[in-house]
Symmetry: C2
Subunit: 406 residues, 2 copies
Amino acid sequence: MSKSKLVRPHGGGELKPLMLSGAALAGEKKRAETLKKINISSRETGDLLMMGCGAFTPLEGFMTKADWKGVCDEFKMANGLFWPIPITVSTDDEAVKEGDEIALVDSDNGEMVATMKVTEKYTIDKAYECKKVFTTDDMEHPGVQKVMAQGKYNLAGPVKVLTEGGFPEEFGDLYGTPAETRAIFEKNGWKRIAALQLRNPMHRSHEFLAKIAVEVMDGVIIHQLLGKLKAGDIPADVRVAAINALVDNYFVKGTVVTKGYPMEMRYAGPREALLHGVFRQNYGCSHLIVGRDHAGVGDYYGPFDAQKIFDQIPEGSLELQPLNIDWTFHCFKCGGMASMRTCPHGKADRLLLSGTMVRKTLSEGGQLPPEFSRPEVVAILQKYYQGLEEKVEVKLHGAATGDVKK
Amino acid sequence: MSKSKLVRPHGGGELKPLMLSGAALAGEKKRAETLKKINISSRETGDLLMMGCGAFTPLEGFMTKADWKGVCDEFKMANGLFWPIPITVSTDDEAVKEGDEIALVDSDNGEMVATMKVTEKYTIDKAYECKKVFTTDDMEHPGVQKVMAQGKYNLAGPVKVLTEGGFPEEFGDLYGTPAETRAIFEKNGWKRIAALQLRNPMHRSHEFLAKIAVEVMDGVIIHQLLGKLKAGDIPADVRVAAINALVDNYFVKGTVVTKGYPMEMRYAGPREALLHGVFRQNYGCSHLIVGRDHAGVGDYYGPFDAQKIFDQIPEGSLELQPLNIDWTFHCFKCGGMASMRTCPHGKADRLLLSGTMVRKTLSEGGQLPPEFSRPEVVAILQKYYQGLEEKVEVKLHGAATGDVKK
């Protein structure tokens, strides 16, 4: 199994991390202080961090209008490189002009994230991008909201990244760069590696996806999103604790690597599955597990559109392949986990709980059946939901005694 | 998925079925009556039937001494073709000589199986073949026994096959030629197909192997051996009934094809796994499921030697790839089927029954736990074992009353 090498980074060259280090970093930080500052959104920060660690190899910065158009229309940049979603930065600042050197500042925390040489300033049709990328311009869609809230102008140009956004400090070993995961895979002698994309705690259906991959691959990387989610999603620290509890108790050591990456969800469904494929290839993965409604939200995408799209892109777009797995669940008649492809029984035999039902049960302090979620995982989620409950109670109590201003 | 074609037959050319049909068959049968007759063993008959249906493509007959030596020593024939086990026919007949046309007759039932032009008559070191192929010349090994019982001379030469050995008549649709399974796969739009080799009824561990493959492939062929087994193995008709009961009740229609092939077991472990790979490629399979102790017997082979050997043969020997899966079982702590790669728990949590234990339970009319075997399967096996019991009782009873001669 270990005879051959890992998949090459996207584009076929070397990893291209845009994060500076040492004297270059110190110097650039100093220079950045002197530059015009542009505030950027959390999504833009996340994309810069992905460029910084090499996960967006071979990008060298934010996309030009020609790139933007090519990516929207044909999944490729002006230079012909396959890319599924525009990676852009925007501003309303009228004063910024082509040729400017600017500093990009995270508007959430004021951190200087990168410097950039502006090579192009252009306007886009935001609704057009939304319809292409999200297949909708419905303002209820969380990804659409962010595009529509962008500044009036997009700025293109190469970037130098100045920070890892605090992720290594906050998440320790869980944070890993593509160079680091590649080194781990090589040390393990792995060549066939499937990535399990996660932005929720792992219930048994996710465990089953990972375990199918463990059965037939050299190894699996449980690869969590550490960037921002939408309101109501479980925060990263709780999810990390729940996933660790599952891995510690139900996986064989040496078959699974658990890591996180700093991007934010766009909820672009099929297009985002492709982006997940692009950067997983950079992390050294030969396969991306694509299950039901991958990177979807609401009812915008067909449940298996994200699998189908891998067949619709030109051959050779990616070295990474999808590992498509059907809708998974526990079936009492099968006596174990199964999918629509392997269980011939009916709804009555299957344990199917909606996300809403799961959240309701947990927030009311109820138990989830062990066929749905491991007790070790449920305990952590119950604790989190109880905490939420207490916070709400404290707030209400405070309000009642006049401590909290409206 | 259906964009590309099936794997090519072994050797890269067209399927080469050596079975005659129509007028050619009638004429050759007539001519065979006039030829010198040589009795052959059930193993040799099985190999001829495999050549007849195209499963041994691109062989044109029995191997020469140079082929035999190359296959024993280097897994390849004199023409350089990869082949893992000698395919030979033998005789003690001193009168047969090179240039003779002979008829090969199944010594079990007297059926004329093939005609052959003898191009070479040679002797071999049988013990040498056994040590190479079986890694042992222990006479307790059922494969060794058959080689050591061969005639004094091997005969090489092209064959014309005259029969399908009664398999289509006995097994109906279950019998399928490589051309037929390829047509089914193409009709289904399948490209990635895993073969599950079976010579025993399917318990849940085999069901699990097949289902892992269903999850990640286009489809699975449950491919049963219909040729001879060793004493004590479950006969084909009982096995077929048990497998049908399992497939009907626990698999999704359209994910599994069930077929059989007419070869006999050699119990050559790793080498036989390679032979299983060669002919599964001819049947159109891209993958062969290789589990624990594939094609093994007793303790002659390490439990995963048959997986390792696929890494030891020269690259490009086969288009088919192994789908290696670890030792599978039900784990009560996992709450379902698992393997050594996916279950981190201990022996006490796992349901592990030896073949001996299973046979003992069934022959005593006992139940197997549903975590080990599906009730529908157990019912069929119980009936079979009860029948055996009755036969033994009848025999004993007959003997006692003097009805049965010694």
